[in-house]
């Protein structure tokens, strides 16, 4: 099977171009990583609306906040580790507490910055952003969805965090597919178990679906592109109808999608859950493919998790 490969950061770049054409109030800021984050595409087309703030993430967030107060829609862009970690207090106190219309793009999320090692692998960004009141957290699964998520973030009011990946990953959604912030996409309607995934690992879930189908197991696959606000109805329905849940993400399980799903199920519909993601550790350098195998983020690992959770039903 041949499938187009593109990094989700490209989707961000395309999304910004679309927003830039549609709305003159859309501005883009970067912290010296414009080429890597694809914000340079916007800079080339709309130089008067692009501001490189230099290597100063905290100031970038504050500047974005002031621009939002002036009626602009700023996209503050840099690597996910730096913006979500280093500028967390600025995001909390200035952006979220004041509920400002600031968009934050965290590039090189998950294991996609593999070769750079643990310092550059954003694994805690989801937990850090999810805990903030007023914040929306979007983790698109491929480049097409990344473009839609970017445009949606630029259209909805209030703080948004968007996570993008560095490496090219399969493009398996279509331009015409439905996308709305806060509404999960059920990609496969199985009844024996459910994988709830976010980000490029959704594709691994689809591969797991194929493998399990060959074994006669009917797997539901949910693309949970919005981690906050979480589509609780889709989570509860999956729990009630399939009775076993596996979560999948390129992030720390503590506080990530796995944590979010478990919080909902513990309160509304206790159900066996297995979690695939990073188990409370810093990783190491390696290609994303190598890291996926070593840290258990492949379709094979998902198949194993599904069987394990089904045994607990």
């Amino acid at each position: 099977m041949s499938i187009m490969m593109l990094p989700t950061r490209d989707g961000y770049g395309y999304g910004l171009l679309e927003l830039g054409a549609a709305n003159p109030d859309v501005l883009v800021l970067d912290a010296d990583l414009a080429k890597s984050t694809r914000s340079d595409w916007f800079a080339a087309k709309y130089p008067e609306r692009f501001f490189d703030i230099g290597i100063s993430e905290q100031d970038m967030i504050g500047t974005a906040a002031g621009l939002a107060l002036g009626g602009k829609i700023p996209f503050a862009t840099t690597y996910g580790v730096f913006v979500a970690g280093r500028a967390w207090d600025q995001i909390r106190t200035t952006v979220c507490y004041s509920d400002l219309n600031v968009k934050i793009a965290g590039a090189h999320g998950g294991i996609s910055a593999g070769g750079d090692g643990a310092t550059h692998q954003a694994l805690e960004d989801i937990a850090l952003m999810r805990v903030l009141p007023n914040m929306k957290v979007l983790v698109p699964c491929d480049a097409i969805e990344a473009k839609k998520a970017t445009v949606a973030a630029g259209t909805v009011l209030g703080p948004c965090f968007l996570r993008f990946a560095r490496e090219a990953t399969p493009v398996f959604t279509a331009e015409g597919d439905f996308f709305e912030i806060g509404i999960a996409n059920v990609l496969k309607p199985g009844m024996d178990a459910t994988i709830i995934a976010a980000g490029p690992i959704v594709y691994e879930a689809l591969l797991a679906h194929e493998q399990l189908a060959a074994e006669g197991i009917s797997l539901r696959v949910i693309n949970m592109h919005t981690i906050k606000p979480l589509d609780e109805a889709a989570v509860v329905a999956a729990a009630q109808e399939t009775g076993a849940i596996v979560t999948a993400e390129e992030a720390q399980l503590y506080g990530g999608l796995g944590g979010a799903v478990a919080e909902v199920l513990a309160r509304k519909c206790p159900t066996p859950v297995e979690m695939v993601g990073i188990e409370d550790s810093f990783l190491e350098c390696g290609t994303p493919e190598e890291l996926a195998v070593k840290y258990g983020l492949t379709a094979k690992d998902l198949v194993r998790a599904v069987k394990k959770v089904m045994a607990r039903k």
Partner: protein
């Protein structure tokens, strides 16, 4: 424009508000509020282009309180200039109040952005000033900062940014009272020589006595006239200014006067010539 004499009288009332409201709250930050009384009074009554009865008026100048703990002085000048009733000042820090212990823009119209975590206001002022430049609007951005606050690294990032983008519509005001919670600023973590540092970062620096109303007024005007670079007013002040037992005592950074101290303070404020 209020006259100098009228400004002096307002400053007295503002000082009285600060001790009354912190005393009623039983906590709060009188010291760094009292040092900024003249700066804030001149700003709200004679400098800002704003409409207190219409806090959301789009064409207004913006004031950003970076040292959020100095909200008592901000609330007082807001109330006295007409944003809300003066009586409401006594609700400071009480459950259900609009006057949070550190200011919240979600509860009180006229507060531009919530603050309280230090070091962030200048970045925000820059962003707003940049938006005004982009839209070719004449709005100005003012930002009050503490001297201890300048120990935050983000402040220096923002100082670079304002100069880099030539934001001459930004006016920073540094309340150089020399004290922070743990003591003397130069002992805790030295920030001197302040004027040279801002100058080296390509700002127009105006040094004044922050309790002299005429100098204060002139400094804002000089900042407004300065083109091509941002301006900072470094105002030498006295923490706890106007109340003898609070003056230059770090302990009054974040402590409220009790009833007896309140009465003594009010007697001093109204009992002698003040504002200078």
């Amino acid at each position: 424009m209020e006259s100098l004499q009228r400004l002096k009288e307002i400053c007295q009332d503002v000082r009285a508000d600060i001790v009354r409201m912190t005393s009623a709250a039983g906590s709060g930050h009188p010291g760094g509020s009292l040092s900024a009384v003249e700066a804030m009074t001149v700003l709200y009554f004679n400098v800002l282009n704003h409409r207190p009865q219409e806090p959301g008026w789009p064409q207004r100048d913006r004031f950003f309180l970076s040292k959020g703990h100095a909200c008592p002085v901000t609330y007082s000048v807001m109330a006295r200039s007409g944003y809300f009733p003066v009586e409401e000042l006594l609700t400071l820090r009480k459950c259900g109040t609009r006057l949070q212990g550190h200011p919240s823009c979600k509860t009180l119209p006229g507060i531009e952005v919530s603050s309280g975590s230090l070091g962030q206001g200048l970045s925000i002022a820059n962003g707003f000033a940049l938006s005004a430049k982009i839209d070719k609007n004449p709005y100005r951005a003012y930002c009050l900062m503490g001297d201890g606050e300048l120990q935050e690294g983000q402040v220096w990032e923002a100082i670079m940014t304002a100069a880099h983008f030539k934001l001459d519509n930004v006016c920073a005001i540094v309340d150089y009272n020399g004290l922070q919670i743990d003591g003397d600023v130069e002992t805790v973590m030295g920030i001197a020589p302040l004027a040279q540092k801002w100058t080296a970062f390509n700002w127009h620096v105006i040094e004044i006595d922050g309790h002299d109303l005429e100098q204060m007024q002139a400094a804002y005007e000089e900042a407004r006239q300065t083109k091509g670079k941002p301006s900072v007013i470094i105002m030498k002040t006295i923490k706890g200014k106007g109340i003898s037992f609070m003056e230059n005592v770090a302990g009054w950074h974040g402590k409220a006067p009790n009833q007896q101290e309140l009465q003594t303070a009010l007697a001093e404020i109204y009992g002698k010539e003040n504002g200078k």
